[in-house]
């Protein structure tokens, strides 16, 4: 129960807050949307990313670098989103969801029926097909084509090798192509 030696705790807290504020400004929206693409529930997505930011803040003294912190945030978001999915078994929801069906609160701008019907028909089929892919392939493709991450960054976020990223991406794209081209 000894007193802990605190060296500049106010400064350290300030630095962590600044990092959190900067990363929040730059990445809150995209990370929530990434999580939402994986779990399809806005409230869960926001809480997942919120927890990731809180965890990042507590580890700031080890991270001390915004790039490392962002990579840490991505890992947290992907891992938590995955465990949420596992817990809720919401893959079924994803599979059954039409591309615009919302499970969450606060959705205010449903796309119009006509835009769904025609303009985005291919995109809708692609997203539906994406939802049917094995989890890892879905994660790899989402990180690559939503966040535009490199293979190395995806490997870090998913804790797999770059070679596996390449394999999953390749298989996923082949599956998507066959689904889309095979669908009238």
């Amino acid at each position: 129960m000894a007193e802990r030696e605190e060296v500049g705790p106010a400064d350290r807290a300030w630095a962590a807050d600044q990092a959190l504020t900067d990363l929040y400004a730059a990445h809150w929206h995209s990370l929530v949307r990434l999580s939402w693409l994986l779990v399809r529930d806005q409230q869960l997505a926001e809480e997942t990313v919120q927890d990731a930011f809180v965890a990042m803040h507590s580890r700031w003294s080890q991270l001390r670098n915004q790039d490392l912190a962002l990579a840490y945030l991505r890992r947290c978001v992907v891992n938590t989103s995955r465990s949420v999915l596992r817990h809720r078994k919401v893959e079924n929801r994803y599979l059954s969801a039409e591309t615009s069906a919302r499970t969450s609160q606060g959705i205010t701008n449903e796309p119009s029926a006509e835009s769904r019907a025609l303009e985005h028909a291919t995109g809708a089929r692609l997203l539906a097909a994406l939802g049917r892919l094995p989890r890892r392939e879905r994660e790899v493709l989402t990180l690559r084509y939503y966040l535009d991450l490199s293979e190395a960054q995806i490997a870090d976020a998913l804790s797999i090798s770059p070679g596996s990223v390449k394999t999953h991406a390749h298989r996923g794209l082949i599956a998507l192509r066959s689904e889309v081209e095979g669908t009238p």
């Binding site: 705790p9 693409l37 809180v54 701008n109 081209e181």
Partner: protein, 365 residues
């Protein structure tokens, strides 16, 4: 379709899809929680520090800059700090920190059977939304409490509901009422489709219908928030077999949060989420007040008091007007050292009366 074409279409589809959701503002909540989480690594005895008497003493959940142990370092501020002045509800009573005893706190290796750990959970309380005390709404507090190590969502929910039902520790400085006085939570169970809360009794008597309706809602919101699985319906069971809560709300039915466009009926019109109560900003820090409101045209007024004197005032415009619950932010800049109170209020367009208000004390070191 070429590979490039497929990739382009997938990229566009994902972006189009993702951009249809509008993430809510949570920065201040994250900062508040981050500071509370950080205290987890501190020696547990800090939670035994008695809160000194006086006006609006600090509480759990207060964000503290530069935490150190009491009486310790030269630049830290104790987690439980000195009293500061407040515009509301002074008290001379000693207030125990409403965190459970440490009798079963985790041992140093953190893995002992029956060990507990401190977590921060959101809890909702029923409080008056203006000085006249005739309107009520839910306020949210981030509260530290103990849960078993590796707690299940149900255990977290039980802990959070227990905190929400005990408004007494807050009543010296917030206009909260205690409709669950003498009632306790016996159990919480969770399935993907139902949260079941077992209570020792049906709730206290002597409260208005508006207050008891909110009392039910506060448990719904608190349990759902602790579990974090969305708006799962909540069912109540009263251990003594009562078929209703407060003699009014049947236990045979389930309860849920209102739809987003009706949540203004439940939540207090104005929340200040930053600063948190008795937050201590280091000298030279930029102070930004932020919160949520559901006000006509999203417009509220604010004032910054130092001592009893209003030193600044202004108008804030939220991101949306009622019934949309918007977020607002007021940049106060760098402030001289001292104790302050930030008050946000809404004035009726009809008669100029203050129809909603809340305030938070903070200080700059």
């Amino acid at each position: 379709m070429t590979n490039d074409d497929l990739e382009r279409r997938l990229r566009e589809a994902l972006h189009r899809e993702a951009e249809q959701i509008k993430p809510h503002e949570r920065r201040t909540e994250i900062l508040a929680m981050a500071h509370n989480e950080k205290q987890d690594v501190e020696p547990p005895r800090r939670w035994l520090i008695p809160v000194a008497a006086a006006a609006s003493v600090v509480l759990i959940g207060a964000v503290v800059w530069g935490v150190s142990n009491s009486g310790g370092g030269q630049q830290g501020t104790p987690a439980v700090t000195q009293a500061t002045t407040s515009a509301t509800a002074p008290s001379t009573a000693a207030v125990p920190v409403p965190v459970p005893s440490l009798a079963s706190t985790a041992t140093s290796n953190g893995s002992a059977a029956g060990a507990t750990t401190q977590v921060t959970l959101p809890a909702y309380f029923v409080g008056a939304t203006s000085a006249t005390g005739d309107q009520y709404g839910l306020y949210r507090e981030f509260v530290r409490t103990s849960v078993p190590v590796g707690a299940t969502p149900a255990q977290k929910a039980k802990a959070a509901v227990a905190v929400a039902m005990n408004a007494q520790p807050f009543t010296n400085y917030e206009p909260y009422v205690q409709p669950w006085s003498a009632t306790s939570v016996k159990n919480v169970t969770v399935t993907p489709s139902l949260i079941t809360i077992t209570l020792s009794g049906p709730g206290a008597s002597g409260f208005t219908a508006a207050q008891t309706k909110l009392a039910v809602q506060e448990l719904v919101w608190t349990a759902q928030a602790a579990i974090g699985q969305g708006t799962v319906p909540v069912k109540f069971v009263v251990a003594n077999g009562s078929p209703t809560l407060f003699g009014t709300y049947p236990t045979a039915q389930t309860y849920n949060r209102p739809a987003p466009d009706l949540q203004y009926q439940v939540l207090a019109p104005i929340w200040i989420t930053s600063p948190v109560r008795n937050q201590v900003f280091p000298g030279g820090a930029t102070v930004v007040a932020a919160g949520q409101s559901c006000a006509f045209e999203g417009t509220t007024q604010w004032e910054l008091k130092k001592g009893g004197t209003t030193v600044r005032s202004g108008v804030a415009t939220a991101s949306g007007g009622c019934p949309t619950r918007g977020t607002w932010q007021v940049k106060l800049g760098v402030l001289p050292a001292g104790s302050y109170t930030f008050r946000m209020y809404e004035v009726s367009m009809k008669d100029g009366q203050v129809i909603a208000e809340t305030s938070k004390p903070f200080s700059v070191s």
